[in-house]
């Protein structure tokens, strides 16, 4: 078909004429690449953070906090309340005793390797039963802390991002010294950004008496969260509310979703800048090829082929930029570790999560840049007067 062969011929000619406009074309590729890379960096960051938190939460673990407390840090639960909660319907039992883990959550300081500045680290107090409630928990080195001692185990994320937590070392928080006896992993989720020690020891060192801050409880397969809620409400001694651990972390994970929004806004603004440059490149291209376009039109090539040729050039340049941008974002950011403030103003260590879907989003963005920056110049190309072919000059 003639419409294909002529359009294809025009596309081939346009692409081959690119070296004549090398720098302008490269500028367009670069602009598109930068916009896409920035977008992907933000999206990968938000995604990585979300994954780190979301994967921490289990569906079959109920999580109790004082009513109105959004996070563990400002919640509290007395020993008596823990016992009442343990009797709620739907709590799984091992033998005769309910599987519950009352936990403490205090903040200590650490020195970040990247910036050598102080940052908050959560120190969690829990019992062996609490450890068992964490999916994917493994000790990667050393051993478990012994109950009643000043021993602690350190999450892999903390080991990576902070100084001084190597196995066997002594760390000091305030007046108290601790000994690192083990390194643990929880499969990359947020618990790896914590230090774990015996709950009773933390209660006494931090003057918490017999209170805790949160309670985790294993649910039976047929447990009904509504029934637990009703149970909590009916007992005036209980001042806690319940949600699944999964729901809790999902909400926390969303706290960086503003990063994704921010990234979209920033890259949209940048995309406008890139568009201005790309439009300039494409208009220059049309002006540069005006005589060739007119000559082809005189020979009998259609408006459409002139339009398609210019459009294809814009799309190709923007797409090359998009691919370069996505690849560099991949190379630079995928798996890159970062830490940022989580819900409790403690550092959450997470890695940028690049995925094919994100790369696709970058490619779409570059195609939009290519389409918009190609459309109007292509329109102009299609309306170059044929008489231009006869105008002077080589």
């Amino acid at each position: 078909m003639s419409i294909f062969s002529q359009s294809w011929a025009v596309i081939v000619m346009n692409i081959r004429s690119l070296p004549r406009r090398l720098w302008m074309s490269l500028a367009m590729v670069l602009a598109s690449a930068v916009v896409v890379a920035v977008l992907l960096a933000f999206l990968a960051m938000a995604k990585g953070f979300e994954v780190t938190l979301q994967s921490a939460g289990a569906k079959d673990v109920a999580f109790f906090l004082r009513t109105g407390s959004a996070a563990e840090l400002n919640s509290s639960v007395t020993r008596d309340q823990v016992n009442l909660i343990a009797e709620a319907p739907g709590i799984a039992r091992s033998g005769n005793s309910p599987i519950v883990s009352p936990e403490l959550y205090v903040i200590v300081d650490g020195i970040k390797k990247s910036s050598l500045t102080e940052a908050n680290i959560p120190l969690r107090g829990l019992d062996p039963q609490g450890v068992e409630l964490r999916q994917n928990f493994t000790l990667v080195a050393g051993r478990m802390f012994a109950p009643g001692t000043d021993e602690l185990i350190v999450g892999e994320g903390i080991l990576r991002e902070f100084n001084g937590f190597d196995l066997g070392s002594e760390v000091r928080f305030g007046k108290y010294k601790w000994k690192v006896v083990g390194v643990f992993s929880t499969g990359g989720n947020v618990f790896e950004s914590e230090l774990w020690a015996d709950a009773k020891v933390i209660q006494s060192l931090y003057n918490r008496g017999s209170t805790y801050q949160s309670v985790r409880a294993k649910l039976t397969p047929d447990a009904d969260l509504e029934a637990i809620k009703a149970y909590l409400e009916n007992d005036p001694r209980i001042t806690q509310e319940v949600q699944t651990e999964e729901a809790y972390f999902a909400a926390q994970g969303k706290s960086l979703s503003y990063m994704a929004i921010f990234g979209r806004v920033i890259s949209s603004v940048m995309a406008f800048g890139a568009l201005a440059g790309a439009l300039n490149t494409m208009y220059t291209s049309v002006a540069d090829r005006a005589k060739e376009i007119a000559t082809l039109r005189a020979i009998g090539f259609s408006h459409f082929s002139a339009f398609v040729g210019t459009m294809a050039e814009a799309l190709v340049l923007a797409l090359i930029g998009g691919i370069v941008g996505a690849l560099s974002a991949f190379a630079l950011f995928d798996g890159m570790n970062a830490s940022t403030l989580g819900g409790s103003f403690t550092q959450v260590v997470f890695s940028f999560e690049m995925s094919p879907e994100l790369v696709l989003q970058g490619v779409y963005l570059s195609l939009i840049i290519g389409f918009v920056s190609g459309f109007f110049p292509a329109w102009r190309a299609a309306s170059v007067p044929v008489a231009v072919a006869f105008q002077g000059g080589r």
């Binding site: 003639s2 000559t295 020979i299 009998g300 044929v386 008489a387 006869f390």
Partner: protein, 235 residues
């Protein structure tokens, strides 16, 4: 029904509107071009030679009057109809060759054939026939940047004739060439006119070039002025 005249222009007018100003180039121009004619059009700069060529070639449309090509009105065709009409009937030869710099000679010559349904093999056969005709068979793979002006114009001629149009329109085809090369090109046009029956309309400033044509019309201020007899006497 066959028509003796390839072109008949009746009461043709052409005006350009530039802002508030209207420039009238032709007002009531009549002209007949018989088939097989080799017509040279001369005249001072700005007299409307290129404008006339554009009107003949369907590159521009008249403001008024009739253009009859081979018995059919073409002055009221739409842009896309005109585009097809050009592809089927007209070969253009430009002063500055207008080859595509990124395509080699044979790809340049092939361009008009991309508008046909010919297979690529058939296209290449025709391209090589056309290149042979202009004596550039051995330059098929050369890029425009590797060829002289005369060679470029010969490639352009091959491109103009490859789809076998009835009419060749040439705007100053030798305006950029030295005498000897110009003569070669003009001889080639003469050959196409005489042996291949192409009707040719050629705009030129050069009386020596016009001598290759079978007749010459002088355009001045949008009208033909008869200098034909005068020219013949002096020749």
């Amino acid at each position: 029904m066959t028509h003796e005249n390839l072109f008949i222009l009746k009461n043709l007018s052409k005006r350009f509107v530039k802002g508030k100003e209207t420039i009238s180039i032709f007002d009531g121009l009549d002209m007949t071009i018989p088939k097989g004619d080799f017509l040279a059009i001369m005249g001072p700069s700005g007299s409307g030679k290129t404008t006339l060529l554009n009107l003949l070639g369907g590159v521009d449309q008249p403001t008024g009057g009739e253009v009859i090509f081979d018995g059919e009105r073409v002055d009221s065709l739409s842009e896309s109809q005109l585009t097809k009409w050009r592809a089927n009937n007209i070969g253009f030869i430009f002063q500055f060759y207008n080859l595509m710099p990124m395509l080699n000679a044979e790809r340049n010559v092939e361009l008009p054939l991309l508008l046909t349904n010919l297979s690529s093999k058939e296209r290449m056969q025709r391209v090589h026939t056309a290149l042979k005709l202009v004596g550039l068979e051995d330059r098929a793979k050369h890029m425009p940047s590797e060829m002289s002006g005369g060679q470029l114009q010969r490639v352009a001629i091959a491109r103009a004739v490859v789809s076998d149009p009835k009419l060749l329109l040439c705007d100053e085809p030798t305006g950029d060439l030295d005498r000897q090369t110009a003569d070669e090109i003009l001889q080639m046009l003469q050959l196409l006119n005489r042996d291949f029956g192409k009707t040719i309309v050629m705009v030129t400033h050069d009386p020596a070039a016009a001598r290759y044509a079978s007749r010459t019309l002088h355009l001045d201020k949008g009208q033909f002025v008869e200098k034909e007899q005068l020219m013949e006497k002096s020749a």
